[in-house]
């Protein structure tokens, strides 16, 4: 009886390896999960950032002095990396819902990825420059 049950479920349940990468966007659930995990990472950091904006001075000297502190520079990078990821994949989900046609969808999805990558690099380089040179 037990042997029969095992055999039966073998036919009904697809191995995880087969299910991964399927679905309409061909990414399975990995990206869905990554969007939520990045949201959880950003959440406390966003409140840290808004708190800092209230407390820091808004002129050049105060802002660079604030970012010159290693902890602030580190937290800023740790905020921006998941933020650009979350933002890019959020916009891509919207594109996948509303943009039709393979070519247009391909161009807009990769356009968002490219822009997001460029913005990430500019931000991180800027932060590191201020952090190390003041």
């Amino acid at each position: 009886m037990k042997k029969h049950k095992t055999k039966h479920s073998d036919h009904l349940v697809a191995p995880l390896a087969k299910a991964r990468g399927l679905g309409s966007t061909h990414h399975g659930s990995g990206q869905w999960m990554a969007e939520r995990v990045s949201a959880l990472v950003i959440l406390p950091l966003v409140f840290w950032l808004t708190w800092s904006v209230v407390h820091m001075g808004h002129d050049y000297a105060s802002f660079t002095a604030w970012l010159h502190q290693p902890l602030n520079a580190l937290l800023m990078i740790l905020t921006l990396l998941p933020m650009f990821y979350h933002s890019a994949y959020g916009v891509i989900v919207v594109i996948e819902d509303y943009v039709h046609g393979t070519a247009m969808r391909f161009i807009s999805v990769y356009g968002v990825k490219l822009v997001s990558l460029v913005l990430t690099i500019i931000s991180v380089v800027s932060i590191l420059k201020i952090a190390f040179t003041g």
């Binding site: 949201a39 950003i42 959440l43 970012l67 921006l80 650009f84 933002s87 959020g90 916009v91 201020i130």
Partner: protein, 125 residues
């Protein structure tokens, strides 16, 4: 007697708070993504030197800049708080219509309160 709706009637519907907040979550998400440009501008301007940063600071302090930053902060708090609501749904909490409506109203009130606290903190200094 009031006319009753027929079953598949996709063009006739009444807005509900859950519906409006759902599309607003997307709208604020897209707006925030575009808003990251301002953040990048701020960082790059600061890295380039005092003159470029002052250009940014002047824009941020102008009426257009302040309106944009205000909208940015509303969108940020709304998206963050409503995102918490979505995360709760993702793990299976709060699906009852009454609960979903209540949590929506809580998010709207909390967004207003947090935006008020933030701008009080900035402007009352």
């Amino acid at each position: 007697m009031r006319e009753r709706p027929l079953s598949p009637h996709l063009m006739i519907y009444r807005w509900t708070i859950t519906m409006a907040m759902s599309i607003l979550h997307r709208a604020t998400g897209v707006a925030l993504s575009i808003g990251t440009l301002m953040l990048v501008w701020m960082l790059a301007a600061a890295a380039l030197g005092e003159d470029t940063f002052t250009q940014f600071a002047d824009f941020a302090g102008s009426l257009t800049g302040q309106v944009l930053l205000f909208g940015w902060s509303v969108a940020l708090f709304y998206h963050a708080l409503n995102g918490l609501r979505h995360l709760a749904w993702d793990v299976g909490f709060g699906f009852e219509i009454k609960t979903a409506k209540m949590s929506g109203i809580v998010v709207l009130i909390a967004t207003a309160v947090m935006t008020a606290i933030l701008w009080c903190g900035i402007l009352c200094k």
